[in-house]
Symmetry: C2
Subunit: 219 residues, 2 copies
């Protein structure tokens, strides 16, 4: 676990804490490290969760399949990102989505109770971590609102433009790499893959953008 301390230092959860502090907090917060192979489920819809998770290595997809096999993708998780934190409140019910490893991944599990309940004395940084957690979930909240904004657009083209613009802003470049293939992007934007594929090509032919696989350039 210790080898990931430098990574943890750069996460939103431990922002402002030093490496020694983090190392000592690991046991205090009941940290465990679990590894998942490509395609494995990290979390399953309907489960209860008592942990706050941080992705140490790899890449995860948050998705959901309904009874008829329709898949919808909520988002992806990259190294250093926190997840699961929205389900540790007392009356939060069960998980609404699956979380799946899209490549071999390693995940930190922190005992939620120990994270949220400030411990008597030992950890000076506990208050900091709780505040960090609040800021992190705030940010996730805002990004959900932005996603709702994209997906509320009426046409496939508008959804694509909205999503790609947001991504360009986030990556601070007109050259972006997205974490989805075509089918996943369609599931993310809630449109048909083939229709979306056609729209992308039309936009390319009109000179709005270029792309090759999952790399896009906005013009």
């Amino acid at each position: 676990m210790e080898k990931y301390v430098p990574l943890l230092k750069n996460t939103k959860l431990f922002a402002g804490a030093g490496e020694e502090d983090i190392a000592s907090m690991l046991s205090c917060l009941g940290a465990r490290l679990r590894e998942f192979g490509k395609g494995e489920y990290v979390l399953r819809q309907g489960e209860r969760l008592g942990d706050i998770l941080v992705l140490a290595e790899g890449s995860l997809l948050i998705q959901k399949d309904d009874y008829w096999g329709n898949r919808s993708i909520l988002g992806n998780i990259g190294p250093g990102e926190i997840f699961g934190e929205a389900y540790v409140a007392p009356e939060s019910g069960t998980l609404l989505n699956d979380v799946i490893a899209v490549e071999d991944s390693a995940v930190f599990f922190f005992d939620a109770k120990r994270v949220i309940t400030t411990c008597p004395s030992a950890c000076r940084f506990h208050t900091l971590v709780v505040q960090n957690l609040f800021y992190a979930i705030s940010e996730k909240n805002r990004s959900l609102v932005r996603k709702l904004d994209s997906i509320s657009r009426r046409t496939t083209r508008e959804k694509l433009i909205s999503y790609l613009s947001e991504e360009a802003k986030k990556q601070n470049s007109a050259d972006i790499t997205i974490p989805y293939n075509r089918q996943q992007l369609a599931d993310y934007l809630a449109v048909d893959r083939s229709a979306m594929s056609g729209e992308l090509c039309r936009m390319r032919d009109e000179g709005l953008l270029k792309f090759e696989k999952n790399r896009f350039r906005l013009l």
Copy 2:
């Protein structure tokens, strides 16, 4: 302000605190009460926010208009609900939505810094409030995910069923009153009003539900 203390006691923000504690916290948290007439803006997209708000009385709509006048509705706010809390983090940027009073309303403004930064001694309940805030934003997070789930449906009918079912679960009854008129519901579900209106009538004719204005009964 004091007359709202019993109401505040039943909000998610002050859950677990007694009335005297709340009364004393009001000044500690920099509380102000502002009133808004029907149709007035409580918050505007693009503004910065340094407060956490609680609706004391009335009803608010969270919405957004784009350049072409397309409106999309994110949700509504009822008495006792917290809002604005996702925008008080240091790097949260400006507001993504407008908040508008749909009827005469009264709103508490709490200074975010004072809510989040635990004060030296005085307020015993400060830690509690921060934790409550985390739980509240968690819940909002999950409800955004549910909304995304509704809105990701492909057809208008599926969106309606998804939304009405969620609402029935929330109101714990097959008889529900929704906080939107037809146009607002359409803007909420990101569909055309007239198409939605037709779909609703078709569903009624098929015996799936009954409705009269904004009251619905699921069958």
